[in-house]
Amino acid sequence: MPDIILKDITMIYPFQKVSGLFDRKQKKLILEHQKQMPYTSNEGVIAVQHFDTTIKDKAFTVILGPSGSGKSTLLRIIAGLERPTLGEVWFDDTDYTDIRAEERDVAMVFQNYSLYPNQTVYQNIAFPLEVKHTPREEIDVEVKKISELLKLTNKLDRLPQDLSGGEKQRVAIARALIRRPSIVLFDEPFSNLDVLMRSHLRSEIKKIHDVYGTTFVYVTHDQYDALSLADRIIIINNGIKQMDDSISEVYNKPLNRFCFEFISSASANIFEDIEVSKDGSFSLCGADYKLDQKQFKKLGKDRKMTVGIRGTNIEIGHSGIEAIVEYAEMIENDLYVHLVCQDQKLTVIEKTNNSDIIKYSHNQKVRIVFDETHFHFFDQEGNRL
């Protein structure tokens, strides 16, 4: 099983040409719109640019990024469904850039399942083995094995239309795994599923990865998926790689402000344009803190920076800075308390019971303390100090 090496991948989708008699006006508008997009060249819209990475064999790698960041394009390039405009795709020592998808020994699980509607669950799962002309008895054994693993044994004679979303995605996963490919790609597989089903399938995928030991590349915009599944996370934005590291590094030492905000999601609190005095001290909501020498040296001449802290690293207690509660909400098992502290909006996350939601009311005064060991400092360009 190979390492996947992406060398300087750039993907440019050509502008939609204006031609033909009909819809000319509409096409012109689309073209104008495309040209106004942030990353364009003379040829078209740049989906991925100068992307280099090595995805380790047998690792569970998650490519994380917002919608339109180019993560699915990257996955399609690995799969062989798209040919990059520039750059090369290598599996170990072999250049696969021009090798067709069907010859790559790569399987993929799609967001919309992409099951064959005319075939039963059994036929869907068996399809990759059938096209390889595997003997019937062997197919039976393999289908039985994988359907047991994915709890599909009693659904084998059903058509995809008779299955729930979660079951469909299980069939898609079974179909992808049955021929034991070298690489399995997941393109936002849980986007169409409810929260409960997501968490259930998430743990199943993790288990399957441990059982099969194949290289898994998983694309998602959901940081919970990324944090719970990945051995390694690659963060991408506007087609540019932002960070490529282990979960703990990505979570604890995000390389830039985008990574911090994206991985922290709703829990990110950002203090903009914080002035640092000559001795390295700065003030947040009236409380004073000090920057260490190493970080201070990296600051620009204007000595301004951005400070980030997660809601989980702010504590509501009896002492500290005064803040006013705007509202509180329960999200899963956490209580998100939205506060205002000297015109700065903050979100504090508390592990709590359902009944605690009533302990905060609108305009209630509370006191908060920042855990200064968890501050993240970024310069004005957004790079980590």
Binding site: F110, N112, L115, N118
Partner: protein
Amino acid sequence: MAKNKNRIVLMKGEREFHYVALVIMILMMIFCVIPLILMLTVSLSSEDSLVHGYRFIPDSWSLDAYMFMWAKRATIFRAYGLTIVITVIGTIASLVMTSMFAYPLSRKDFKPRNVIAFILFFTMLFNGGMTASYIVWTRLFHIKDTIWAYLVPGALMNGMNVMLVRNYFNANIPYSIIEAARLDGANDWTIYSKIMVPLSKPIMTTIGLFSALGYWNNWTAGIYYINNPKLYTIQVYLKKLMDSIQFLKTTDLSNEATLLASRNLPTESARMAVAIIALIPVLMIYPFIQKELIKGMVVGGVKG
């Protein structure tokens, strides 16, 4: 109670609309069925009762037209057999050709698809005409007096049908299914035969029926290219029969034998009997494919 639960509650004005729609539909249905009924009754009328025109209820009934056909049964059955063979082979070949042409045109990764689609569309609008194609088929391909004359010229592949199937593929089969199949290791033939064709039953039925009707009713190919009576299809045979009857009626009747023959021949009723005989297989097949046919016409959205 259960009955009432299942009833559709009509809003104000909807009931009136339903009645008007029903009346219009009934009228349209009558317009469609009347010619068929007239055809049947005329074929069962005596020749004398048709002198003053066609009637739904003739003055006198007669099976003369069918007896006349029965007398020629050996030739008619052979022609029937040939027509069935041509229709079956032609329809299957046409479906295979049409869908195989449409499949690459529906693939986004097939670069020349727009150029080929343009050429296809161009030939739908402009072609070489009758004389040129006659010369090509007879002198280049030598199909005169062969079964190929019925199968190949102008019938094997129809540009319009290719467009319909391509549109069906594009609109009804998600492209990600093709991509999934490619990643499962399927080549283009497997994707076409195991996924695209089984998923296209409605449009295939529609195209198949139109194609089969085209082959069944194709008498022009026989007139142009066939001289050997053993290769007459039912339509060609009936056309020739009609021409012969017409010939007897219009030639010099001073000859006593001719006069006698023409008097005993059913003409108008025979025409209709011929049409009924040609229609029977179509009427027999239609109920079995009606459902798929309607689905195909709706999704194809052009014919019908």
